[in-house]
């Protein structure tokens, strides 16, 4: 309780002082950090402008299909794996980028933040960024090519990538910091962090879990992609995480369990009440390799890439 009051008291003080520290953009060109500018204080009332608003033909299922196809195209072209992991988060990303995230522009200081803590699913994220027009076809097509920005793991030099990730167990701490920053500034930004279930093997995840609960970071939403698999085996055979939702709730988080491929359920849950007293975790039950029958639940599609026949079959299954 004390923490929540502390956060509120600073946010009032910051506004009275005519500053919104969060609006201060770090400036790489000079030798000093630019002081906050009072003009940056104005927070534009933000609705949920989204792909689907701009183009009603792009429904969330259509967006999800678009992302899946881009995963198959990109993976085949680059001969790079992580297909199963990308397909398992596709519907979560479609919900986020099609409807949930309030991001008028990727460099808007007041945007919601999204962190793909399971960075190895970056190809799915690139497809979502392409759907928002934040990256172009050339960037998406450059996946894993020389002299391009779209590598296997996301890099913040790419528009729309808030934080570089790739080493599991780091994204939630970045997100907790971003959520704390929003609270300190009295801003209504929300922060979404997408983790893998095996990522919860990392002790650092639980450091962040404890901090977020202690400081009642209700504007922080962790999404755990529970596909039950990790690089070498099924999660229950490596370090059994079940019951995952009870573990998070025992640490003080408000827990939501959803079907990670049900777009309506996802959007409804991901826009859950930010005014609650606790951070939120959405335990998303997913299928590894979702949408491609021969990949679903198969360990080998963590790293394998497709041969021509597999590629054709996968395309047919996703595009039907």
């Amino acid at each position: 309780m004390r923490s929540a009051c502390r956060l509120r008291s600073l946010s009032v003080g910051a506004q009275e002082a005519g500053h919104d520290v969060a609006a201060t953009k770090y400036h790489g060109g000079g030798h000093e950090i630019i002081p906050s500018h009072p003009m940056n204080k104005n927070v534009v009332a933000r609705g949920r402008s989204s792909v689907t608003d701009r183009d009603p033909a792009t429904s969330l299922p259509a967006l999800a299909k678009q992302i899946r196809l881009a995963i198959l195209h990109g993976s085949k072209r680059a001969n790079v794996g992580h297909i199963g992991s990308a397909l398992s988060v596709t519907d979560i990303l479609a919900a986020l980028y099609g409807q949930v995230l309030r991001v008028p522009a990727p460099d808007d200081p007041q945007r919601d933040r999204f962190i793909l803590s399971k960075g190895h699913a970056a190809l799915a994220l690139y497809a979502a960024l392409r759907a928002r027009d934040w990256i172009d076809d050339e960037t998406l097509a450059g996946y894993c090519r020389d002299h391009t920005f779209a590598g296997v793991h996301p890099d913040h030099h790419l528009p729309g990538i808030d934080f570089s990730t790739g080493s599991l167990g780091q994204g939630l701490s970045f997100g907790a910091g971003a959520a704390l920053a929003a609270k300190l500034s009295g801003a209504d930004r929300r922060v979404y962090v997408l983790l893998s279930d095996a990522e919860c093997n990392e002790g650092s995840v639980w450091e962040s879990v404890m901090f977020a609960a202690q400081h009642r970071l209700s504007n922080l939403v962790a999404i755990v992609d529970v596909n039950g698999q990790q690089a070498l085996d099924h999660t229950h055979r490596v370090l059994d995480l079940s019951p995952l939702e009870s573990r998070w709730s025992a640490f003080g988080w408000q827990t939501h369990v959803v079907d990670g491929h049900d777009l309506e359920q996802l959007t409804a849950t991901l826009t859950c009440d930010a005014a609650s007293a606790a951070p939120h975790v959405v335990v998303a039950r997913t299928v590894f390799g979702k949408g491609v029958s021969f990949m679903e639940g198969q360990i080998k599609w963590h790293y394998m890439s497709m041969n021509d026949d597999e590629y054709q079959l996968a395309l047919e299954q996703v595009d039907r």
């Binding site: 502390r6 956060l7 008291s9 600073l10 003080g13 910051a14 002082a17 500053h19 520290v21 969060a22 609006a23 201060t24 953009k25 770090y26 400036h27 790489g28 000079g30 030798h31 000093e32 950090i33 002081p35 906050s36 200081p109 933040r113 913040h156 808030d162 934080f163 570089s164 990730t165 790739g166 080493s167 167990g169 780091q170 939630l172 701490s173 970045f174 997100g175 907790a176 910091g177 971003a178 959520a179 704390l180 920053a181 929003a182 300190l184 500034s185 922060v191 002790g203 650092s204 450091e207 962040s208 404890m210 901090f211 202690q214 400081h215």
Partner: protein
């Protein structure tokens, strides 16, 4: 140094509300002035250094200037990959404050020795490393650097009483501090051990030797031209640091000498063996590794009078 640093930080925070202080549950009787003056901007994040660096990364991306505080070993080594992938990779203004360079927590044992922090931090591009030599310089170094872009590592000591004679708190990020000129030998010192180096220079001068002394307070980015200039005019340079011989000031000076092709021999004084096992006071530990004033004088005399000795890698 740590109290002077926090007192200065309180002053700076009065005028800039972007400054936050996070601690990994350390700093008893040190961080209180900040915590009491700015309770809403102070966070004890618990014994969780990795998360602390991650939090600071998220805070800095949103425009804050977070200072994260712990002991050198915990904040640098435990959180190292978070430092690398967080503030370093993103070029964010996180200020990493590590207390206890060298053997300052001597009786606490090996887990508390800051003898490898500079080595691992120095390899990170864009990470400024500031190692003040005394508490007056810690305060002026903070004032001179806190607003600069990119991440900074401040390597602090515990001593808030002693000063390095002649330093008078001077700090210039572009210029190491020259405390004595000499043409026979140049001693370069990093951190609080500069006090022993200064005393050694005095004793050597009394014995009739012309020995120079430079305090290298900004280790990264190194003041290359100043170092080159100083090293070009002496036959022997002796580095002094409470740090492993590899990776710290001795390595830096050797790199400058080798890359610039200078006709200068480098003798490195530092921690040559793993300091496990027998323990004792800071003075005891320093002496065991040749870093007492007497040890430094002896090393300097060998460097001045004798032929080149076997190097670190010869043993």
């Amino acid at each position: 140094m740590r109290r002077a640093f926090i007192r200065t930080l309180v002053d700076l925070a009065e005028d800039d509300e972007r400054i936050l202080l996070l601690t990994g549950d350390l700093g008893y009787t040190v961080v209180e002035p900040f915590a009491e003056r700015f309770p809403a901007r102070f966070f004890n994040v618990g014994v969780a250094e990795q998360n602390m660096l991650g939090l600071a990364t998220g805070l800095a991306e949103s425009g804050f200037i977070p200072f994260v505080y712990s002991m050198t070993t915990f904040i640098v080594l435990r959180a190292y990959e978070f430092i690398r992938n967080g503030p370093v990779a993103h070029g964010l203004p996180v200020r990493i404050v590590g207390v206890g360079g060298g053997f300052e927590y001597a009786s606490a044992g090996f887990t508390h020795f800051g003898v490898d922090d500079v080595g691992v931090m120095r390899v990170q591009p864009g990470l400024t490393i500031v190692a003040p030599a005394d508490h007056e310089q810690a305060a002026s170094a903070l004032r001179a650097t806190w607003r600069q872009e990119g991440p900074i590592y401040y390597r602090l000591g515990k001593d808030d009483v002693s000063t390095v004679p002649g330093l008078n708190g001077r700090f210039d990020p572009q210029r190491p501090q020259t405390l004595a000129d000499g043409h026979e030998l140049l001693i370069l010192a990093m951190g609080a051990i500069a006090r022993q180096a200064e005393e050694a220079v005095k004793q050597l001068a009394a014995a009739g030797h012309s020995v120079g002394l430079i305090v290298v307070d900004t280790v990264s980015p190194p003041p290359l031209e100043r170092l080159r200039h100083a090293l070009a005019s002496v036959p022997v340079a002796m580095t002094v640091e409470a740090h492993y011989l590899v990776g710290g000031l001795g390595s830096l000076v050797s790199e400058v000498v080798a890359e610039r092709g200078l006709p200068c021999r480098v003798v490195r004084c530092g921690v040559a063996t793993m300091p496990v096992g027998r323990t004792g006071s800071e003075a005891y530990m320093a002496a065991q590794h040749g870093l007492s004033t007497e040890g430094l004088v002896a090393s300097a005399l060998r460097a001045l009078n004798g032929p080149a000795e076997a190097g670190h890698y010869d043993s």
